[in-house]
C-alpha cells in the first residue's frame, strides 16, 4: 500500500461516479427512518459498497467528494439535507466516520488486491461500516448534544439492526457484482497481475 496514492483518469471517473451513486441512493425511494435525523439510509449501504468495490483510497475519496458537495450546499443527503448546517449538527461524526469507515472496509475487503471473498467483504463492512462509523459518530454526537457517552451509545443501538442488514446486502451485492462485472474490481491505484488473471478466468468461465 503506497503512502500517497496517485489516481489515473480511470480512478477519477470511478470516484466521481461512486460519489454520484451515493447521492442517488439518498434520493426519495431510499429507506429513511426518523426523517433522516441520524443516518439510517441506503447511503450507508453506498459507503460499504464503495469500500468493498473501490478499495481504500478511491472509496475514501468518493465519500469525501460526496461530502464536499453536501458541504457547499447540494441537498444530497437523504431527506434532501445539505449545506454547512449538516456539519454543524449532531450527525457530523457519522459523516466523518463514513470516510474513515470506507477506507477501513477497503483495507479489509480488498487488501492485497485479491478477488473478493464473501467473508472478507462481510468482515470489512461490519468493522468499517459499523464499528468505525459508530466509534467516530457516537463521541461527536455526545459532545454536540451534551448527552453522556454511554446514553448516546445506548440510543445508537436502535440503528444496529438496520446496519447489520446493510452488511448482508452489501456482501450479497459485492459477490453478485463480481460474477456480473469483474472489471468493476480492477485496481489501477496499485494494479497487480493476480487480479487481472482472476478477472479474466472468471469472465471466460463457461458456466
Amino acid at each position: 500500500m503506497g503512502i500517497r496514492p496517485t489516481f489515473s483518469i480511470r480512478d477519477i471517473t470511478r470516484i466521481a461516479v461512486f460519489a454520484a451513486i451515493l447521492a442517488v441512493l439518498g434520493l426519495p425511494g431510499a429507506i429513511t427512518v426518523f426523517g433522516g435525523a441520524v443516518p439510517i439510509t441506503a447511503q450507508t449501504l453506498g459507503v460499504m459498497l464503495a469500500g468493498a468495490i473501490l478499495g481504500p483510497w478511491r472509496a475514501a475519496a468518493a465519500i469525501l467528494v460526496f461530502e464536499v458537495l453536501v458541504l457547499v450546499g447540494l441537498p444530497l443527503l437523504s431527506g434532501g439535507r445539505g449545506g454547512i448546517a449538516v456539519f454543524a449538527g449532531p450527525s457530523v461524526g457519522y459523516l466523518i466516520g463514513w470516510i474513515v469507515g470506507a477506507f477501513v472496509i477497503g483495507l479489509i475487503a480488498r487488501s492485497g488486491n485479491r478477488e473478493p471473498r464473501w467473508w472478507r467483504t462481510a468482515l470489512g463492512c461490519a468493522i468499517g461500516g459499523i464499528v468505525v462509523v459508530y466509534a467516530i459518530g457516537i463521541p461527536f454526537q455526545s459532545l454536540i448534544t451534551g448527552l453522556p457517552l454511554a446514553q448516546t451509545a445506548l440510543f445508537s443501538t436502535a440503528f444496529l439492526p438496520g446496519d447489520i442488514a446493510k452488511v448482508i446486502v452489501a456482501t450479497l451485492v459485492t459477490q453478485a457484482l463480481w460474477r456480473a462485472y469483474p472489471r468493476a474490481f480492477e485496481q489501477t491505484v496499485r494494479s497487480t497481475p493476480e487480479l487481472r488473471v482472476a478477472a479474466y478466468n472468471k469472465s471466460s468461465d463457461p458456466e
Binding site: I9, A16, A19, V24, G29, A37, A184
Partner: protein
Amino acid sequence: MIALYHPGTSVLHRMPAGAKVLVFAALALAITVTTGTVWSLPLAGVITVALYMCSGLGILTLLRQLYTSRWIVLVMLVSQVIFLPLMDAITNTSRVLVVIVLAALITLTTRIPALLDATDHALAPLRRLRVNTAAIGLLLALTMTAIPVISGFASQIREAQRARGVPVRPQRFVVPLLVMSLKHSDELADALTARGIE
C-alpha cells in the same frame, strides 16, 4: 437539482464565502463555550433572527429552517429528557438548533460556485504537498454532472423491473445500477483520455 441558495443583495450575500464561514465558526464556538451562562442562548437566538431579517430572507425562511430540523429536535429532546434534567435537555437542544440554523444561513446566502471557489482556496496549501488540486476541481465537476445520469439509470432499472413484475429487493436494484454506472465511468474515462485529459 434544487440548490438551497436564496438570491439576494444583502451584506451577507455580498460577503466573501470564506469570511462568512470563519465568522460562523467563531459564533458557533462562542455559543458552545458560553453555553452555561444565562444570556448566551437568548442572545444567540436574537442574533440569528436579526441576521435572517437583515439578509432579506425573512421570518418565513427561518421558520422553514426550523421545520427542516424538526426530527433532529424530536430525537434529541426524547433521548435527553429520558437521561438528563428537563432544563439541560432544553438548553442542549436549543443550542444545537441555533447552531444549525446559523450554519444554514451560509448555504442560503452563498452561491455554490462561490463556495466551491472558497473550498479550492482553502485547499491551496495542499499544492505544496504536491496534491493536484486541479484534479479535485475536475472530480467535483464530474460528480455533479454524473448525478443526473446515474439517477436516470436508477429510474430505467425501476421501470424495467416494474414492467416485468420483478419483486423489489435491494440487491436486484443495486447490482444493475452498479454495472451500468461503472460502465459509464469507464466510457467517461475513455472520452476524457481521448480529449487529452490524463
